[in-house]
Symmetry: C2
Subunit: 230 residues, 2 copies
DNA sequence: AAAAATCGGTAGCTATAGCTACCGAGAGTG
DNA sequence: CACTCTCGGTAGCTATAGCTACCGATTTTT
């Protein structure tokens, strides 16, 4: 196995805490397929049969949700070492719920999911770790989605902003900090329109709760911010 | 172990394809605790320490997400044999991300998660199946949450209703069917107010798209319903 | 069977947030 | 140095959906 590929794989969460030597043995068992996809081609097509747990080895790809009416929405961009299709691997569903599109030339390793819970329980030392990684990975994914639901379920704009800022304040432990998201991205994350977001931020500034310039924010009145979050 | 409990457990997805005799051996290893909860009490409280992977043995409970402002979103309703807390079991987080509420008197079995990837790999025959079941369960959970995020991200009321009804239509394969949720629950699920939901349903009826009475719905104009979903 | 609670539809009012449009400030490119 | 592009704030208009209130129909409780 190519040393470069091994390097990518050991850095991937799915092979976390598995040594390169163990990995070599495991790859013998797993018999992964490595495919190359040219720029602007589909790595996976929404609705078509599932082709296995994907690990991006090189290139850049995006996960795209295509609606019935044909509109395409980019969900995420994935980079070398990232996984895709991990949610479907062990589910009864056997078709892609979204498309994966190569933004540049990509090489991808596909693992047949049934091999992960395969025969080599007793042989491969890394087996148990792989299972554990998969469980942690799926748990983390589910929890992230759960947090997203939490934010989306919040009704008011003021409330969303307040809770978001309080969370950032908690992380930074300072009254002045830099947001990790640009306005556009923040609007997407909170699922509101950018203009309405800017407007509400402006109001909060007028009320003396916060000050801001671009992505930097200063909390002037923590009590009022807390009240805004209810 | 009570024969009735064993009956519930073998029907539970976590012990799927595990024979009662294997189950008996495994329960020796797992050392589960069984607790009883009275109607309208909390089985688990959001934010409090994690008490283990739960299996509902009897009664009916709902998993609810409570936001800071006190608004409650129903995630799912669980019945005997169903699990809860499976997301946290393998994650670093050690507190409940949501509450579990007993709608009627419930008895619940709690499994210590560390036991699942435990020591008894070589002893218990059902071990491998249990892991596989956990992976299937978590995948399914993640997919469900994903779907929920997709619903919440939808802006328009008409769009939400249309997509929901089309999904129900797809499940039932009939133009007339019974919704699995009451108005209140449906409003919660779609994260809209009940009155606005009723109003929009009324409009759709006036436009000849659907007919309905309580939880029963008849689709009169599938093409228009599809158009409403964009 | 009466009383209480739940369920669901309707209406009017209003706050909210989405949309379009515009404009200025930086950043990157030729 | 123009130029183009992205980023972000502002304003006006309007559609949308939330809220309160009410009422009749069901279901559950006593």
């Amino acid at each position: 196995m190519d040393a470069n590929i091994v390097k990518i794989l050991v850095s991937s969460p799915i092979f976390h805490d598995i040594s390169p030597s163990q990995l070599d043995i495991m790859l013998e068992c797993l018999k992964p397929k490595i495919n190359t996809f040219s720029k602007n081609s589909y790595i996976a097509v929404q609705g078509e049969p599932y082709t296995g747990l994907g690990i991006l080895l090189s290139g850049e790809a995006s996960i795209i949700k295509e609606s019935a009416s044909g509109s395409r929405v980019i969900m995420t961009v994935i980079r070398p070492g990232d996984l895709f299709g991990e949610m479907i691997a062990f589910s009864p569903r056997k078709h892609w719920p979204a498309s994966v599109f190569a933004q540049s030339t990509c090489s991808v390793m596909f693992l047949p999911p049934e091999k992960i819970i395969g025969e080599c329980t007793h042989v491969c030392g890394g087996y148990k770790q792989l299972i554990k990684n998969m469980l942690v990975l799926l748990s983390t994914k589910a929890l992230m989605l759960n947090q997203r639901v939490e934010y989306l379920a919040i009704k008011g704009m003021r409330e969303k902003i307040s809770i978001y800022l309080l969370e950032q304040y908690k992380i930074n432990q300072k009254h002045t900090f830099i947001l990790p998201l640009k306005r556009n991205e923040l609007a997407d994350f909170l699922s509101v329109s950018r203009t309405a977001l800017s407007r509400e931020l402006g109001r909060m500034r007028d009320e003396g709760i916060i000050e801001f310039y671009r992505t930097s924010v200063k909390i002037n009145n923590l009590a009022m911010l807390r009240r805004g979050a209810e």
